[in-house]
Symmetry: C2
Subunit: 98 residues, 2 copies
């Protein structure tokens, strides 16, 4: 479908990460992807429309929290765990505990 842009984590601001995780819907998405990586959008625990979900995924991607790859007609997303832990240690643990 398209190619996704994934920023280098060293260029991501802490404020961007915090902002990405300031929405309960996005926290739920990251939490779900931590428990079960490589989920397609429609497998995520949200009630919002496709358009809104696509927006939330883009915010999470822009903050370096998740990465998305195309797999046929689907696009599977996962949390960038190792990189996030290296650049923003503890953030994912907070989400997982939530």
């Amino acid at each position: 479908m398209k190619t996704y842009a994934h920023p280098e984590l060293k260029e991501v601001q802490l404020a961007s990460v915090m902002h990405a995780l300031s929405d309960p819907c996005r926290i739920a998405i990251v939490s779900a992807l931590l428990e079960k990586p490589n989920l397609a959008c429609n497998e995520l625990p949200t009630e919002v429309s496709k358009a809104t979900l696509s927006h939330h995924m883009e915010v999470l991607r822009g903050a370096g929290l998740i990465e998305t790859r195309v797999e046929g007609a689907k696009c599977l997303s996962s949390v960038r765990e190792d990189e996030m832990e290296a650049h923003f240690p503890g953030v994912l643990a907070l989400v997982a505990r939530d």
Copy 2:
């Protein structure tokens, strides 16, 4: 001047904490208060107006990040370090590293 409301941290949502720290100005405030507690508003490193700063402090207070006490004509603020660490471990370290 007034009495400040400080929420119980167990009733604070992770999303609220993240939102409070999603603004570079507020990150700078918390960072400064971590280095030097009990600062008055005019001792904080910001360029915004009094009204805006007052708003930012209220957001930080509402998220349980800081506590403010009246001291004469000033109001001195500090980070609620122990409580934050107990309820949202690692958050303050991220701010301090920033």
